[in-house]
């Protein structure tokens, strides 16, 4: 039991495991033998000034020597190590907050302190993926009441940075995802900022969709701005549309969302805490939330939507946010374009009041911007939509949009992709159904969002009368290979668009 056997020399192995802290040590290293460490043992790894918790993977090859230690990239970054640093390893003291997770597994109600401890330890990286998955599962399936969702949301807000805009009213909007092409955000920002409200909008890149708002806006302007740059843009123009990835708002959410993705669940409690914690941490005071409902959207029934609306508004109240949730039609994609460049073109056409601008996108934008104007109290009830429409038609929204783009560093016109194929109807009839998930998948296979100009331009909408050989949509890609790849998928699936 001599102390020095617990000190090992760091070697860079360069293993990227997402967020999970993994420590690599040899099976024949002295500390493994003397401490009884084995694979998956949770171990504390320390430098002089800081320490992390990591799961052990045991090495029995020469990628490490017995006196060396490796770390996954996430762990190395958190510990800020350099090759040949000496690291001290020891048994992990029990993680107290796991007793709360166990209590939740056994159906007990947790209070704010419990959620706060759990979320703190998650942000510290003390939970393995096994623990994270258990926490998410224990909270899913309607096992959290409004109090608990509120407490979880507060704990998530407290876990990260919080922005302060020194404004009485700061507005925001959010869409409960799942609808291809539903790119209302930049348009709403342009309208409400043109009207004089403050809307410092941060958006995400695509996680599983063919384009996130940040991907789309990157076609037209810079979105990866520093905190200082964002502040300057918002102070100057009243709004922005930037990528939120570096903001460190609600960092626990970034960890949990990856586990939810691996499980392919999006439990109500976590969803609400995720959305509202990000909004509150970003300094918002008034938030409109769009809940599209449809058979192939994320929210599939009116009953689920009503419940979600109710919970969002009540939890919002509990954490000091004015929230209005709007249930919208989620039966089909919005606009014509699916994919960053094609969606950017839709946005510009709406802003410029072009004849062929997508009407459905425009209507949604006017609805959401109108609700936001009313919620802020700056426009009286029943006058929101009218006001939003005026700002759009007048060209002021377009002006504001260009001004924000320029404040963010550039305005670039979108350019169509070089490769394309037109997909035509094999039969005539009425367009009965569009599968949101499959059309999104098709756009992704054509290269979106990595290839910005890849994607789909829809020519039809639900209930349109379609002639045989009439144009249904155009597939765009940046290489012939990607175009073929998407076509193969299309040929294997005859239920992407249903005509009867």
């Amino acid at each position: 039991m001599e102390q020095h056997s617990n000190i090992l020399k760091y070697k860079h192995l360069g293993i990227y495991t997402q967020n999970e802290n993994v420590v690599y040590m040899r099976d024949d290293c002295l500390v493994c033998i003397s401490e009884g460490f084995e694979a998956l043992t949770r171990i504390r790894v320390a430098k002089v000034t800081r320490s992390i918790v990591a799961s052990l993977n045991v090495i029995n090859s020469d990628i490490l020597l017995p006196n060396e230690i490796g770390l996954s990239d996430a762990a190395a970054k958190k510990l800020n190590v350099s090759p040949n640093d000496m690291l001290y390893v020891s048994h992990l003291e029990p993680i107290e907050s796991l007793s709360h997770v166990r209590a939740k597994i056994y159906n007990q109600k947790l209070n704010y302190d419990a959620y706060n401890q759990i979320i703190k330890d998650i942000v510290e990286g003390d939970y393995s993926n096994i623990h994270l998955s258990a926490f998410i599962t224990a909270c899913a399936g309607d096992r959290m009441d409004i109090d608990e969702i509120s407490d979880l949301t507060k704990a998530m807000i407290a876990s990260g940075k919080q922005l302060n805009w020194n404004k009485e009213i700061v507005v925001d909007k959010h869409c409960i995802g799942g609808l291809p092409g539903n790119r209302t955000t930049p348009l709403v920002v342009a309208i409400v900022a043109a009207y004089g409200l403050t809307m410092p909008k941060t958006s995400s890149r695509a996680i599983t969709s063919p384009a996130g708002t940040a991907d789309t806006m990157e076609v037209l302007t810079n979105v990866a701005l520093s905190a200082d740059e964002i502040e300057n843009v918002v102070n100057q123009e009243g709004g922005c549309f930037v990528w939120g990835g570096t903001a460190q708002l609600s960092p626990a959410d970034d960890v949990l969302i990856k586990i939810e993705k691996a499980l392919d669940i999006d439990s109500e409690g976590q969803l609400i805490a995720s959305v509202l914690s990000k909004k509150a941490a970003a300094g918002s005071t008034h938030v409109v939330i769009d809940i599209p409902v449809g058979e192939t959207a994320k929210v599939r029934s009116m009953e689920m939507a009503e419940k979600l609306k109710n919970h969002l508004e009540n939890v919002g109240k509990a954490v000091g946010l004015k929230v209005k949730a709007i249930i919208t039609d989620g039966s089909q994609p919005v606009g014509y374009g699916i994919g960053p460049t094609l969606e950017a073109i839709d946005i510009l056409n709406v802003l410029k009041n072009e004849e062929d601008a997508p009407k459905d996108l425009k209507e949604r934008v006017v609805l959401l911007a109108g609700e936001l104007l009313e919620l802020s109290g700056k426009v009286e009830k029943e006058k929101g939509m009218e006001t939003a429409k005026e700002v759009l038609i007048s060209g002021k929204a377009y002006e504001k949009f260009l001004a924000i783009c320029k404040a963010q560093g550039r305005f670039t016109q979108p350019v169509l992709a070089p490769f394309k194929t037109e997909i035509r109807a094999e039969t005539s009839g009425i367009l009965k159904r569009i599968d949101n998930r499959k059309i999104a998948k098709l756009a992704k296979l054509s290269g979106a969002p990595q290839s910005k100009s890849a994607g789909i331009s829809l020519n039809v909408h639900l209930n349109d009368k379609v002639e045989k050989d009439g144009l249904l949509y155009t597939l765009f890609a940046e290489s012939q290979g990607e175009l073929n790849y998407a076509l193969e998928y299309k040929n294997r699936h005859n239920d992407i668009i249903t005509i009867k």
Copy 2:
């Protein structure tokens, strides 16, 4: 999208991750780029004749070349690969059974087919630790009814090998763990086999305790026998006490139990399915289950114990096992010894009817063996304990015990450890409490079960009158260092034994 980019050359990295299949590929390998693989993506990895599913860890150092691929040891073993084998990687088709896990997360009742698909995929290695943790959590907290526990048990039985002894009656016993020194199994085997019943007992090594039955028996005889050797011993002597580790009975349980350990939960449904599936797969027909109840035992209240008893017996019926569960006192350790050698000495003293044999161990053994004799129908009701006692007192059980040991390859006398310290009472009074968990931890720190002769020999039991400086227990170790390590723990905890 050329196919050959999906073929990579296997390199041995020697990374042991327990059961989890992990695949290592370079961030700049062509297939990662073209297929959009990223860390934690679930990937199918195939050789010509077989394939596995693994989670990706992305490598950005020279431990791999861009055209090479690595696997965790578990994955390499399942795929049976050798260095330079060419492996084909592809996107994973969706794992259908995860939809059942999601249904369970959302509180739906699952049927046999659903559990069967889940368990099959778990045994195949298709579930990541994230999925396994979600499944265990979703099944915990009283979320399974008797039908579901029965269906899960049946699915776990079907997932592995099943032994057949060609006997009408095959008896077994099991203890719902948590009580140090409770080493009744070998004694029960000796008694019922001496009486003429068949009891092919497989036991586990210690998971978190200072000794498993297999560790203890290994002091006295060989326990790592092949399936053929076990069959020979049982045919010759009617019983055995061997290690069950290589038997491949209920293999899903081996995977799930490691995740439960990481979560430190042992949910009722999984516990019942685990115990009964192992018994049924081992070919047992009549099983007595010991449920010790105590404040620091695994089962802490009579209410929990009654419920568990009820469920064990009912699920047993559903899967065709005659089960009798017995609730026993779990307030303190059983016998004197804690640790393999010290427990082996207790066993021999009971068999030899020694004056100083631990009475509590003897009473438990007579109770359990008696219940088993009655359950089998070979001894009439109310006569079991009397019969068991006769077999023990007569020396026939000791004779049978030695015969089984010899059939298993050797009988070795236990030898005490070279280093020891006596722990004495600091005050006089009545012994009010023994902390089962802490005394077990102390025995482990002294070196048990790796050091066979390490451990604790208790000199006192609950409610004993203790004089100041009277002997409480003796700590044994195989090195002075281990003895010191245990003593340090003892000195930091003054509530291992409470005298008032």
